[in-house]
């Protein structure tokens, strides 16, 4: 026999360097890069507002009311002569603060409740009924109702918007916990005596992280929108603080003669929300392609 030992074929491909992975990701998801860039720009504007708009957002100048956009007043003036540009720039602060706080708060609270609910069955039944009930009330309506009973302030706005968002997070976390709880490796870990909190930290939390981060991003976008809506209706941030919704609410009566009061904050608002949503989409696609279906 002329048999020779067959050569072993190496079919494993070498791992790609990190730089190349990022480059390919950027090429395939240009919208994510675009969205993150926009968001970064907005955050910069908000943080360094005095630098971008050196004037005083509250300064009244009735002699110069309702001027259209010009070289001195880039976005024109409103009915009290205030500079719309300055107010819009400062408005970014409120919107982003509300967005981030609501997002963080609802995620933390929802995570806690969801973990508890997923793990303890009796508590689960009660909690899920409450969550279902809360979810049956349209979010804005719930926020409005709560704002109607309290003093208008940014803190109260944050709380009012957070509460309707909590059930979403709870549902998500609970779903993941229920799913993972059934896995054989959890049983295995418990059978060798792993303590509960370690099971939680090492096994459950990592699986929950990815969907929660994506959800938190979407919640941030929703919160910015709801805050603007609330302010627009008069149930949001107090009128002396310039937020985009407030500026637009004030501009309503003068819409036909001075549309710029609504236009510019509206544009900024849309761009910000768009940026956050794009970021959320990108995170969703990047972190787990299977998630893309559930969301």
């Amino acid at each position: 026999m002329t048999a020779t030992t067959p050569a072993v074929i190496d079919i494993v491909e070498p791992p790609k360097p990190l730089g190349r992975i990022i480059y390919e990701f950027a090429r395939r998801n240009p919208t994510v890069i675009f969205g993150s860039g926009l968001l970064l720009a907005m955050v910069t504007i908000a943080v360094f507002a005095p630098f971008f708009a050196p004037g005083d957002p509250l300064a009244l100048a009735p002699a110069r009311r309702l001027r259209p956009p010009s070289e001195t007043y880039w976005f024109g003036t409103d009915m009290f002569g205030r500079d719309v540009y300055t107010r819009t720039i400062y408005g970014a602060r409120i919107s982003l603060i509300v967005g981030i706080c609501v997002s963080a708060l609802s995620t933390v609270v929802g995570l806690a409740i969801g973990l508890l609910s997923g793990y303890v069955r009796i508590v689960d039944a009660v909690i899920m009924r409450i969550m279902d009930g809360l979810m049956a009330i349209p979010g804005i309506l719930l926020a409005i109702a709560m704002m109607a009973l309290t003093k208008a302030s940014v803190e109260n706005v944050i709380i009012a918007i957070t509460i309707p968002e909590i059930p979403r997070v709870v549902r998500l976390v609970r779903g993941v916990v229920l799913q993972i709880r059934e896995q054989p490796y959890i049983e295995a870990a418990q059978s060798i005596g792993t303590r509960f909190h370690r099971v939680l930290l090492k096994h459950i939390l990592p699986n929950v992280m990815a969907p929660i981060i994506v959800q938190a991003t979407y919640i941030c976008a929703a919160a910015v929108l709801i805050e603007a809506g609330l302010s627009f209706l008069g149930a949001g941030t107090p009128p002396n603080i310039p937020s985009w919704g407030n500026i637009m609410a004030e501009g309503r009566t003068f819409f036909q003669i001075a549309f710029w009061i609504i236009l510019f904050p509206g544009l900024f608002l849309s761009v910000t929300v768009l940026a956050i949503n794009l970021l959320g989409d990108g995170l969703r696609d990047a972190l787990d392609p299977r998630l893309a279906r559930r969301m």
């Binding site: 026999m1 002329t2 048999a3 020779t4 067959p6 050569a7 072993v8 074929i9 079919i11």
Partner: protein, 348 residues
């Protein structure tokens, strides 16, 4: 370079008409990481009323060949070259509309997973009759009656009731019967059966194969039975084609193939079938035999014979040159430089 030195181009072999002839088919997939040559120059024909077995392991291109016949290759795949001849026409030249009159009508296909190949939200009757209404122009009621007939033909009990039911109400074996009924409802010339019994229990397997052969006798449909299971081939096929890494490596009648395999891969396949009836001898030791190594990545084929890296008969020439597919004995073809050595050592 011709890969076949066997036939004079004709429509018959030994007086029997060829219903389907695949000629030098190449179907490639253009992926981001490279070109996958799933089918790389395959030719075979099917005679009227015969059962042709197409054997090979997963990824060798046998399913893609069948899908190419029906032109169901989706992006990033494309049929790059070749002819698929049927009734004097080249299927690859037809327009989309013309091709649709062939599918389900002249050529039908059944798939490996009966559990997922039927639409879960439509009744069986609806799924069978829509093909009948489309190709045979019957009205709804007549098509429905014909569906019931087809269900009876594949031995489904209480066909009148079953026809209004949904796939989830049936077992895997029954669903496969429904698939067969659907496929044969318009009397196709050729039935492409892609691993029809692989997902079923062994006892059900036998039933389904038996059913298919019985129906073949009744309707005269030729069957292309695609499988990796040589046992199935032995029971049902008259002729066999063995494929490896996108190419044909051996072709013969079933008897010839099992009696005297002429390609090392075929030998390897046969040896890896667990045999309970043989005591341990030097020729057939008690351990399960496997073919060492793995199928090469279809993006990165070695030069020379694709099987050479795993072949115990391989020589330097094998690694450099691709062996031609040629006739080694009457009606028996193989692509190997060392077929005579293979024949010496292994008898069936």
């Amino acid at each position: 370079m011709t890969t076949q030195t066997m036939e004079r181009p004709s429509q018959t072999v030994g007086g029997v008409e060829k219903v389907l002839e695949i000629e030098d088919l190449k179907t490639h997939f253009f992926t981001r990481d490279g070109v996958v040559r799933a089918v790389d120059g395959v030719s075979y024909h099917v005679l009227k009323g015969e059962t042709l077995g197409v054997v090979g392991e997963s990824g060798c291109g046998k399913s893609v060949t069948a899908l190419s016949v029906l032109r169901l290759i989706a992006k990033p795949g494309r049929i790059v070259q070749g002819k698929i001849k049927m009734s004097g026409r080249n299927l690859l030249d037809l327009s989309d509309e013309e091709m649709r009159t062939i599918r389900g009508n002249d050529v039908s296909m059944i798939f490996q997973e009966p559990m997922t190949s039927l639409n879960p939200v439509l009744t069986l009757g609806r799924q069978i009759s829509e093909t009948i209404m489309l190709h045979q122009g019957l009205n709804k009621k007549d098509a429905w009656d014909k569906s019931i007939e087809m269900l009876k033909l594949v031995r489904i009990p209480e066909a009148e009731r079953r026809v209004t039911e949904y796939p989830f109400q049936m077992s895997g074996g029954m669903r496969q019967r429904v698939m067969i009924a659907m496929a044969l409802s318009c009397n196709p010339k050729v039935l492409l059966a892609d691993e029809p019994t692989t997902a079923l229990d062994v006892t059900i397997q036998a039933q389904i194969l038996h059913l298919m052969l019985e129906l073949k006798e009744k309707t005269g449909t030729a069957i292309v039975l695609i499988t990796h299971d040589l046992g199935v081939v032995a029971e049902t096929c008259q002729r066999v084609v063995v494929m490896y890494a996108g190419k044909k490596v051996e072709e013969a009648t079933a008897d010839e193939l099992f009696e005297r395999p002429l390609h090392p891969y075929t030998v390897g396949l046969m040896k890896s079938i667990p045999r309970l009836d043989r005591a341990a001898t030097t020729d057939h030791p008690g351990r399960l035999m496997e073919i060492p190594g793995m199928v090469p990545s279809l993006k990165n084929m070695p030069p020379g014979c694709a099987f050479a890296p795993r072949c115990s008969f391989a020589t330097e020439r094998c690694r450099r040159e691709i062996p031609a597919f040629e006739m080694k004995a009457s009606g028996h073809y193989a692509a190997c430089f060392n077929s005579d050595k293979v024949a010496e050592i292994h008898h069936g």
